[in-house]
């Protein structure tokens, strides 16, 4: 990578181009020939909505002071200064590291508080805010926009980026003093922040208190009833259509009455982050639509591509092709998938599905999907999958005919492999997906045993997997804290000769197929050693 300092004229134009309306694009095109004189933008638009100025100039300083007046930004206008290629890359990578850590906290089901503790040092080091340094402000601003370029290209990338950035926004908001919080809220000028009158609050006080009391206890740590009452006395409520705070409706964190939600002020961040996410989502789409116009040479594209693949490294799907080359073609087929050699590598969720399948010679829809994708992920090809399922469903003891199977289920399994209907080759389910599905009812086997099984059943299963009682209680403890993927990782480590290790980003398992792959690798290595 060439490390020369570049004025990056084209980059600035590109950034503008991508983030601005077609009017400006047209303007850009007309002036294409004169592009080398990037002053075109600076001159023609001075005093307009662009962010500009010579690096380090007084104008630039003033500009960023203004943007970060209340410490946080909604990143409304794209930057248009000059940065070096080095800065371009390093800034982006640093922000990415922070976002990755956030993602990983989410995957490990960390609470907001824990996430803050984990990410804060990283944030301080890589992406400090709340400072007066111009460099830091610029870094934050530019890195956000560079990553927009990286992650606008597919829906998956956009969603991931959106989630992580929104989380970062929330985290930072919570780190502000209430004075700056108020200042920031004011600067946004949102129309919907209407507080209810004291009379209305009195009238609904019982319902309102009932609604927020658990949150006061668990989110704000007001363990004492008196404290909570006190807090409630002073709290103000915002009344707005329930659609505006829909995220809080599902978890019943707001009181609803006749289509209105009553939002306590301490929850207003939800409103802000929703607004933030909504705007960013629109902007990302717009960036995506303008991406083809990015008249870029080979300096930036490789960086952008490199960054966006790096981002998904924690995602099993993205490097599954590596496994493909690792596992020989056809290594797993409809027969040996039952073998001890293969099945001993299954995570508990897959084992559970297998035993359900063998018991009932059938699985209900969600179970079929979960197991079918898992098997697809471990390398069972479409033909073998069909063979596997038809044999399992029509096996003796069940009462399904081959005809019925072909009529009612064949399509389903072919569909999963992208051979029917819209011909999408569906992605293999990760733990997040599995945990987001409806929980198993009686006679269903999908889901996550660490969430769905009761303590007794889980304990006896874990003991049969030869976990010591200390290990079992450590797993149960994670289940208690809703850290199901941690629980699973602990089980992996206990059964694969790794003990006493802290579950961190490197070892954390948030994908059933990752469990399988690691277990299989371990198994192969182990058998080589013993040979």
């Amino acid at each position: 990578m060439c490390r020369i300092i570049s004025t990056l004229g084209e980059l600035h134009q590109s950034l503008n181009l991508i983030n601005h309306s077609s009017r400006q694009i047209k303007m850009f095109r007309q002036n294409k020939k004169r592009i080398s004189s990037r002053r075109h933008f600076s001159d023609d638009n001075s005093g307009s909505q662009f962010i500009m100025g010579q690096p380090g100039s007084e104008a630039e300083r003033r500009l960023y002071d203004k943007i970060y007046e209340s410490k946080l930004s909604f990143y409304e206008l794209p930057p248009q200064g000059e940065i070096t290629l080095d800065q371009f890359e390093i800034w982006a990578i640093d922000r990415l590291k922070v976002l990755l850590e956030l993602e990983s906290c989410v995957a490990r089901n960390k609470t907001a508080k824990e996430t803050e503790t984990i990410v804060k040092p990283l944030l301080q080091k890589l992406l400090p805010f709340n400072t007066d340094s111009l460099e830091d402000k610029k870094k934050d601003y530019y890195s956000h926009f560079i990553l927009r370029l990286c992650f606008c290209r597919t829906k998956d990338l956009r969603d991931k980026f959106l989630r992580a950035e929104t989380l970062l926004f929330k985290l930072r908001f919570n780190m502000l003093t209430s004075q700056y919080q108020a200042k920031f809220v004011q600067s946004l000028d949102l129309p919907m922040l209407q507080f209810i009158s004291e009379d209305e609050k009195m009238e609904l006080s019982q319902e309102l208190y009932q609604t927020i009391s658990p949150q006061l206890q668990f989110q704000l740590n007001l363990t004492d009833e008196m404290q909570r009452r006190q807090y409630f006395q002073n709290e103000r409520f915002i009344k707005l259509p329930f659609e505006s705070v829909i995220d809080l409706v599902g978890s019943r964190q707001v009181f609803l009455k006749k289509g209105f939600a009553y939002l306590p002020q301490f929850q207003q961040l939800n409103l802000l982050s929703r607004e933030f996410a909504q705007r960013l989502e629109e902007e990302l789409l717009r960036t995506f639509q303008h991406l083809p116009h990015l008249n870029e040479d080979d300096r930036l594209i490789p960086i952008l591509t490199h960054l966006s693949t790096g981002y998904t490294i924690s995602d099993y799907q993205q490097y599954s092709h590596e496994f493909g080359s690792d596992a020989q073609e056809g290594e797993i087929n409809s027969q040996n998938v039952y073998s001890k050699e293969i099945s001993s590598n299954f995570p508990l969720c897959a084992k559970n599905l297998f035993s359900g399948l063998q018991q009932h010679h059938h699985l209900r829809y969600n179970g079929r999907q979960q197991l079918s994708f898992f098997l697809k992920g471990i390398g069972l090809n479409a033909d073998d999958a069909l063979k596997f399922w038809s044999e399992a469903f029509t096996a003796r003891g069940g009462n399904m005919t081959q005809d019925k199977f072909n009529k009612e289920y064949r399509y389903n399994f072919r569909h999963n492999y992208g051979l029917e209907g819209s011909r999408i080759s569906y992605r293999v389910w990760d733990c997040r997906t599995i945990l987001s599905k409806p929980r198993p009812a009686r006679g269903e086997f999908h889901g996550c045993p660490y969430r769905d099984w009761n303590v007794d059943k889980l304990t006896s299963e874990l003991s049969s997997m030869k976990l010591t009682s200390t290990q079992v209680s450590s797993v149960l403890e994670s289940c208690q804290k809703n850290e199901f993927t941690i629980a699973c990782t602990k089980v992996f480590e206990s059964t694969h000769g790794q003990t006493g290790m802290e579950v961190d980003d490197q070892t954390h398992i948030a994908h059933p197929n990752l469990y399988f792959e690691r277990s299989r690798q371990w198994q192969k290595k182990h058998s080589n050693e013993t040979e």
Binding site: S213, I246, V249, G250, L256, K258, G259, P438, A441, R442
Partner: protein, 417 residues
Amino acid sequence: MTEEENGSPNEAAKPQPPSSSDMQYYYQFIYPFKQIFNWLNHSPKPGKDMINRELAMAFRSGAYKRYNSYRSVQEFKSQVVKANPDRFEIGAIYNKPPQERDSLLKSEMIPLEKELVFDIDMDDYDTFRTCCSGAQVCGKCWKFISLAMTIMNTALIEDFGFENFLWVFSGRRGAHCWVSDKRARALNNLQRSNIIDYMNVVKDRTANKRLALLRPYHPHIARSLEQLKPHFTAIILEEQDPWRDDAHAMQTLLPGLHDRNLIEALSRYWKAHPGRSSKEKWSDIDAIAAKELKISRKQEFINRLRECKEDLVISTLYPKLDVEVTKQTHHLLKAPFCIHPGTGNVCVPIDENFVPSKAPRLIDLQSEMELRNHDISKTSLQPFLDAFQRQINKLVKEELSNVKRDREEDDGQIVDF
């Protein structure tokens, strides 16, 4: 309610699967196409709510044809009569007529609106249902569904402010709810799944885990509990009596309690005295707790026990809703007045007083038609058609006044300028 009205399981479940010529006759002479059209169209004049609406047909052969759409009542009727499906289902309103789908890019077809729908199925009550099993249903277990309707009605009106909704018998052992308010139709997927989460208090239906809801209850749950409590003794403890079976009580009643010693004491007691009724077992909980246990912090223990019992009332009786049906705008759901292919029942609009044995059956309608000179208004379907028409009138009127209000607001703005 007398025993007769309750109906024995056998009688209610006597299946009358219609033949394809029965279905032909029904679509030709009885099915209320015009009403369904107006109900989905929210206006008597064909508009985009119906023209761009997906309807899907399911056939006897197992074939399923999606993305049909119709521009008029006449086309709607003639196409359904011609295709003669077993049943047909209603989907979303798209940005373009779904029948043009083949000539469009798939990404161009976007589901915009649909009624907010809920689906309650008796299956999900099986853990506590003893009077019937599987596809059977009787007046006793239908009380689960009636009670679910009551709870849902209150929440839809009081919490969400919806006014126009319709319950429809699913034809065998469940009910569907269609919320037609403009605001409900416009909900996106995220909003729909949050509403179903709000409603679905009992997520884990396996019932071998303690519900452990946060305290104090959210006002919706607190209110629902008050609505359910009066029925718990009659429905669960007396009629269904699910815990007379000792093994079942150990699996589904004991895990709901919070105290290990209490659970052990009860399980010892029930092993020594097998076959006690649910009612006896329920009162055993308090009795054993008072007698056998040395409890240090008494008041706290009693409070927690009361909370466990409240959670148990919720977990046995609170509505159990299918998540997938509600979650997505483009999900399809069987149209009202279809014939259930298994039972021959008409899927009629219902209220809390309905029992499945009251549902008209196609076979009866056919003979009534013959007897009464082919006059539908003299058949047993008419009261259901009347109820449906009242709902449509209310909906259309509401819709018109909305349009008017919007227009006036627009005009107002223009004057302002």
